[in-house]
Structures are given as structure tokens and as C-alpha cells.
């Protein structure tokens, strides 16, 4: 049984991709068989998992020719090969470089039903946890992912705009993910600066403004994350920085939430 975690948000630049990468890394460290699929055309997941920028920027055939969301013509066998190749960076499927496909191909893909099929095809049967990275806002990629979600992690920045956008986004969620709304929606404060009064005020108010669950601990804004991204170091190294402790905590939180969900689902089914 595969549990699907979708990371989505209405705001841009809140750290979705970082969250997916870090969570995947922590879950894999804890021994879960997981796979991360990048449904964001910005295609940043691979890089966030510790790739070198040069690989991404050049037209390296091994990278661009490999399996991606855009390019799934190779079939299941090559998924295994492809994953093996990328083993150093954790099992993941990048979105794919926009430079090797035509616009028509991309437009044909940008449909909810097609995307759902694509994700299902890419998921190996023994995968325990599937993580989906999505672009911000209202778009077919997010919609497809949300329809498949068992749990939605919604990172948000504690700033002036966030509470206002939440209401509208919640009605969007109610529409595209009714099967898990509201209990499966988990809001996590991201890039959190506790020394700012506004941030702590928003944190205090958030629970009252949304229907979903607010994750008790925030992911703090920490320069260590940016440094790690810039250096491309593997994600499993913990230097005592707060953000990594936050991600680790979040991974166990998510595991627990999935466990509860599983129990609920089983109860629902029976």
C-alpha cells in the first residue's frame, strides 16, 4: 500500500521543493521505501537532492535522456535502471528538462487525467511512501497530485499575505481533494523566524483561521539549508542546525499521521 504525500501551497517560494527533498531524505534514513516525483515544471527537485548545478545546466544525455515525468516512454524496466543511476541522490523522478520536448508534448501532459496516469505508471509497486512536489497555486499538476493525496503538507510563510490567501486556497482544496479534506491537510510554517513578532502572531492565529491541522512545530528559517543547497552536500548529514532537526521531527510527525490515516482508512473500508 503506497501512501502519497503531496506538498502544495498557494504561495510561491515557501520551500516546497526543499521540504520534499528533506522529507524524502529523512524518511529514507528511517528505512522507508520512498520515491519522490517532481511535478513542478521548474524541475528543481533533482538539484535539491544534492545534484551539482553543472549537471542540470548542460545537456548531459545521461541526465536528460533518463526517466522523467515528461519522458516516460521508456517503460517500467527503465524506471529501475534510472533509479539505480540516481541512487546516490535518493530514488526520485525529475520533471524533465523543458529543453528536450516540444510545447505540444508539454501541453498534452498538462491535463489532470493524463498526469494521474503518469504518476501511477511511475510508482513501483513496492514503494511505501510517494512524495509529490507541485508548483504553487492553482494548476493541473497540483490538481492531479492532490487528487491522489493521502496527506497534504502545506508549507506557508508566516507573513501578512498568508492568512488572507488561505481561505481561498481551502475552498480549492475542498474541491480537488474532498476525500481527505479537512483532516488530511496539514499546515506547516516554513522559513519561520521566531524573532519577528508578525511571525509569532500569525503562528498563534493560524489554527483559528483554517479548517485543517496546524503542525505543532515550524520549520525554521536557517542559513544552513541554503548553504547545503549551495554546496550540494548530501542531505543525510546533520550538523546540529535547527532546520534539520525540524525536518527530522516533521518526518516522524508525517509517519504518525499516515499511520492514523491508515487506521482510519481501514476502519472506513471495513
Amino acid at each position: 500500500m503506497t501512501f502519497t504525500i503531496v506538498v502544495a501551497s498557494p504561495q510561491g517560494g515557501v520551500g516546497r521543493t526543499t521540504l520534499v527533498a528533506q522529507l524524502a531524505s529523512q524518511l529514507a534514513l528511517a528505512g522507508a521505501r520512498c520515491l519522490a516525483i517532481d511535478l513542478d515544471p521548474n524541475d528543481m527537485l533533482s538539484l535539491s537532492l544534492g545534484g551539482s548545478p553543472s549537471e542540470w545546466m548542460t545537456d548531459s544525455p545521461s541526465y536528460h535522456g533518463g526517466l522523467s515525468v515528461l519522458n516516460t516512454a521508456l517503460g517500467v524496466g527503465s524506471l529501475a535502471e534510472s533509479l539505480r543511476e540516481r541512487r546516490a541522490r535518493l530514488p526520485h523522478v525529475p520533471f524533465g528538462s523543458r529543453f528536450i520536448t516540444t510545447r505540444e508534448v508539454r501541453e498534452r501532459l498538462a491535463r489532470v487525467d493524463v498526469l494521474r496516469e503518469r504518476v501511477r505508471a511511475l510508482t513501483p509497486p513496492n514503494c511505501k511512501i510517494l512524495l509529490l512536489d507541485t508548483p504553487s497555486g492553482d494548476n493541473p499538476y497540483s490538481e492531479a497530485a492532490l487528487a491522489l493525496a493521502d496527506i497534504v503538507l502545506l508549507p506557508l510563510r508566516a507573513d501578512a499575505a498568508c492568512l488572507a490567501t488561505m481561505a481561498a486556497y481551502e475552498s480549492y482544496l475542498r474541491r480537488v481533494a474532498p476525500h481527505i479534506y479537512p483532516r488530511g491537510i496539514h499546515y506547516v510554517l516554513s522559513m519561520f523566524d521566531p524573532t519577528r513578532q508578525l511571525a509569532t502572531d500569525v503562528a498563534d492565529l493560524l489554527g483559528q483561521c483554517v479548517d485543517g491541522t496546524v503542525v505543532p512545530r515550524a520549520i525554521h528559517e536557517d542559513e544552513a539549508v541554503r548553504e547545503q543547497f549551495a554546496r550540494g552536500t548530501p542531505l543525510s548529514i546533520d550538523g546540529g542546525a535547527q532546520a534539520f532537526a525540524d525536518f527530522k521531527w516533521l518526518a516522524s510527525y508525517v509517519t504518525e499521521a499516515l499511520g492514523r490515516q491508515g487506521v482510519d482508512a481501514a476502519a472506513h473500508a471495513s
Binding site: P194, T195, T200, D204, E221, E223, G240, A241, Q242, A245
Partner: protein, 703 residues
Amino acid sequence: MSSLVERDSSASALGRALSAVLLMVPALALGAAVVLTPLPVEAQWMFGALVYLLALCLTRVSGRLVTLTLIGMSVLVSLRYFYFRVSSTLPQDWSLDLILSLLLLAAELYSLSMLLLGYMQTAWPLERRSAPLPEDTSSWPTVDVYIPSYNEPLHVVAPTVLAARALEWPSDKLRVYLLDDGARSEFREFAARTGVGYFARTDRSHAKAGNINAALSKTSGKFLVILDCDHVPARTLLQVALGWLVRDERLALVQLPHHFYSPDPFERNLATFRRQPNEGELFYGLIQPGNDLWNAAFFCGSAAAIRRDALLSVGGIAVETVTEDAHTALRLQRRGYHTAYLNSRQIGGLATESLSAHVRQRQRWARGMAQIWRQDNPFWGRGLTFAQRLCYAASMLYYFHAAPRLIFLLSPLSYLVLGAHIIDASPALVLAYAVPHLVQSTLTNSRLQGRVRHSFWSEVYETSLAPFILLPTTIALFAPKYGGFNVTSKGGKVLRTYFDRAIALPHLVLVALNVVGLALGALRLVQHAPNPDVTILNMCWVGYNLLMLGAVLRAAREVQQLRGVPRIDVDLPSSLRWAGARMVAATARNISVDGALVTVASADDCPEGDELHLCLLEPRVLAVPARVVRREGTRIRLRFENLSVDEMSALVEASFARKDLWSSWNHGLKSDRPWIEAMRIALHGVRGLGLGLWAPFARRNDA
């Protein structure tokens, strides 16, 4: 009436009375037979051994009935000893021997009475639970919280005030008042900043009682809660304490335990903190719940909720004695009000910081209890049930232990030094009766009290106090109005470890006398004087006394304590954040209003002097500006400066005022094992005696 006691219909009551009488007569006869039958030495030893073995088997079985049986057995054995003592051991003729023997007998009878009263008080503690308040919070009553203060520093009082503000209660029905008997401007400003009421007095008539009474006329809450200035309440205090008061109109008082999160002088100087129950546990953990069964729980001055009307009807807090709290409760009960005790730790305070401060505090209590005994004796006057009289009497008579204790400490010397024969029977026979009495009472008390007081420690506590409360209690008995009120100081420091010779002096004198007795005894043995068995018996007794005194001497060695500001141990996930968004995961280990100690995984980049924020992640997000003052390995000490009221308040809420903070305080304690405790105390005693030898050369107190 206690809720556990039901009222029967008169018919079945008569039936029960009759059957009780029918059972009692043969039981009394049997008891009398056991007590009064004399036995030869070997048979008496056998009897003692059998009873002991039976008791040992019974201790394996839990349950109230078994406890009562053990009490019964102990009472019989002790009465047997006393009958023997009175009938067969008193010297025949009128002489010094007889006088000394009668003195010793009086001391022993005192101990027996306290033993019996203690059994009565503690055999069946009422384990009262907190009563829930009504669902509708709009029906909850108004509450005033009084925090009286006189000369304590602000950093001791601030956490109490901040935590009182944060008590969970409808905010329109809660008022906090700082009652400042010192009329200090610093406190006035603090009250203004935090938005609590402030009353100042310039005349200090009747000290704390007067302070509270003066405030009574200016406030109007239906209930008042009194908190000592260093007793920080958990946020749930009101919800726990007020349930019973709201339900029962005749209930005037709900008392909660005084819990100390800092070690008392014995715990600190003998290093027993958190390893065995402290001195206050017996009272708050067993005696008050025992009193509660008989509706005799009394007010202890703090951590209590009182019905305002009831208090006004007895004229406010009593001012005639220095233990105004117990006296007020006595008055309330005479008026027909009930009292209750809830054994739920909702406040945390500071224990007395040195043995001399502890002694001063107990001197005040002893004096006050003697004053009440003299001026408002529980056995006279109307309004109390017989059980209540006994319970109050037990609590008051406890403080008269000075003379008996001193007699016990000096009795063996009457033979060794003066050659007086105060026990007119062979040592073997005396031991055959006395040993079962001592062993059974120790065993039974261990069963009753083991959770809250380990065996033999009562003797240590009493020995430490006896020389100091002899005079106050005697004077108070004859001239109750004499003497002033000394306040217990809180929040002091012990700058360097030192031996408090002033407090140890009487014990050193007693040690010296006992050593002389020991030497003379040895001399007798060496010179083959007659009755070597008597000599040896008395020397053993001297040895026991010396070990007890030694333990007290050890407790007089004050261990350095530099913490002036109350600090609480926590285990909170937290984080250190520097200006450039660098954040390091940490764990907060202790917190106070002016600083904190955190541990990190690696302290490589935390130089001293750095300014940063300490961020607490639970229960609420909190970022407090701080500075690194010291770094030792992975332990970092931070200091807070210029905190806003909100920041201080949040710190207090995250540390001192957390719900259930103290509920698992005693979970790690070892249970009572009398033999082990005896050896432990003996070890303290030996080390203490060593200290005592060194006393003339010891370093002076620099504090």
C-alpha cells in the same frame, strides 16, 4: 462531614453498635491478656520474635486491613512494654534514681502518645480527588489571589506574580494582588507594568496576618487564594482547588501541598535530594490527608483557597499567635465550617536555604503551636468533634518533643556518669520488652509512612530541632505573648561551603557529653566494675545517640549554593538563533527569569559574549533575546536582559507554571528499607562526628 462517611438509618446504626460492643469485649479481654501477662526472659524474646515474623509476613500483603492489623499488633506490643516498664522497672525508694527514671518514663510516655496519635492520624488517609467545576464558566465565582511580601527580592516574587496572572480562570473573575508590607517602589512599578493590584502598608502590625487582613477590606472576590511570594502556581491551580468550594457552602478551606523544587538543608547538605522523600513529605503527603478524613485538615499559610465570608466571620486571619494559619483553621472549625485537603502539587516554592533558616522557621512554628495550645486549646471549648480535637492535639503536641528528645539524648549518661540506676531490672529483660516495641513501631511506621518518610529520619529531624525549640515552646506555654515574629528568609545564597558552628553548637555540646559518658563507660569495663551488661547497654545507647547527633552535624555543613534567583529544571526542545538566520538545535535544561542553561550537540561556534535569541519551541513559540555568558563543553549559560513583561511571562509559563509539572516528582524515589536507612544515617553520623572534631579549626562563614 467527610464525603466518605455515610449516615445510616438509626435502626441499623443500633445494630452495628451492638455488634461492635459484642466484638469489642472479647477483643479487649484478649488485648489485656497480651499486655498484662508477664513472661520470663526467653519466653518474652520468643514472643517478640514471633510477632516480628508474623509482621514480616503481613507486610508482603497490601491492603488497609493488614495495615490496621499491623497497627493493632504494634499497639499491643508497645503497651506490653509500658506495662512492664511501669510495673517492674521503677526504682523502689524515693531517690535520684527514681526522679531520673520518672523523667525518662515521662519522655517515653510522650513518645507513646505521639505514636498512638500518629497511628490514628495516618491509618486511613482520605485520598481526596479534585472535584470538577460546573460546565458553564459564567457561573464560576470571583477569585482574588493574594501574594503577600515583605523583604524578599523582586526576582523571587516576579515569577509568582506572572504565573498568577496566567492562571486558567475567566479573566474577568480573577484578580491578582501584590500585598507589599515593605512599600517598595520597585514592587509598585512591577505591579503597574504587569497590571496586577498593589497594596502597600507602612505599619507592619501583625506581619503577614495583618497584611492579609488589611487587603481583605479592599477586595471583594468570593474566594481568596493565598500564595507565599515564592510559591509559583501552575496554571491549573484554580481549576483544581475550587471545585469542592463551589459545591459545598460549609466548606471554608481547601489546602494544597507545599512543594519545594529546591533542596531543603538536609537534602542539600546530606545529598539526598530527589533520592528519598524530604522532610515536608510526611506532613503534606500523609498527615494532612489523614487529618482530612476527620475533617481536621488545617491551613498552612499558602497554597490554599479560602471562602471569604467564612474568613470574615472569624474576624480574618488570627493575629494572636505566630502560626496564624493553623489558628485560623481551628477557629473556622469551631464555627462549624469544614476544611479539605487536596494532595495535588500545584505550586512550587523554594525550601529554606540553610539549616539555621530552617531552624528559625520551625522555632516560629513551635512557638505558635505552643501559643495556640495555651490560648485556644483544642480540647477545651465548643465546636469540635472528638476526632478533630485529637488531630489538632497531635499536630500541636508534636512541637513539644524538645524535652523528651533531650532526655533520650542524655539518659544513658545518668548511669555512665552519675552511676544512677534508673531501670530496676536486668538489661536482658528490659531489652526483651523494649526491642519488640521499637522494632514493631519502626516496621509499622515504615508500612504507614514509608512512601513519605524513611525510617529513622524522624529522629534526625527532631534531634536537629530539639535544642532550639525547648525554650520557645516552654516560654510560649507560660507567657504566650512574649516575643516577636521573625520572617523566614527566601532566596539567599551560601557563598562558600562552611560548617555552621552557631547552629551546631548545642549538638556539639551533646556530643561532648556523650563522648565523656562513653569514655567513662569504657573505664568501667576496663576496671571490671560490677554490672558490665548495664554498662554495655548504656554505651550502645550512647553510640546510637552519637550517630544521630553526627548526622545533624553533617547537615550543619552548608554546601555552597550560588543560586539566588529561583531556577527550575526543564527539558524543553529549543533553539539558539543568531542574527544571520543561523539556528542551532538545543535543549533547555533550566530556566529562570534572568537566564537559562541549554545544551547543544556541539558548542564549537558559540563564543561567549554573543548576542542571540533563545527560542522555545514548546508549548508556544517564544524568542527571547539573550547573551552567552559562559560555555562549558556542550553546556551554554545564557543571560536575559531587559525582558518585556510578555517575554518574562511566557518564560514563566513555559517553565514554572506548566500543568502537571510536579506530578511525577516522586516517581524515582526508592522505597523505605529500614536496615538500609539505619546504615545510611550511621554513615552520615560518622562523617558528621568527624566534622565535629574538626569544628574548632573550621573555616568561618563568609556570607
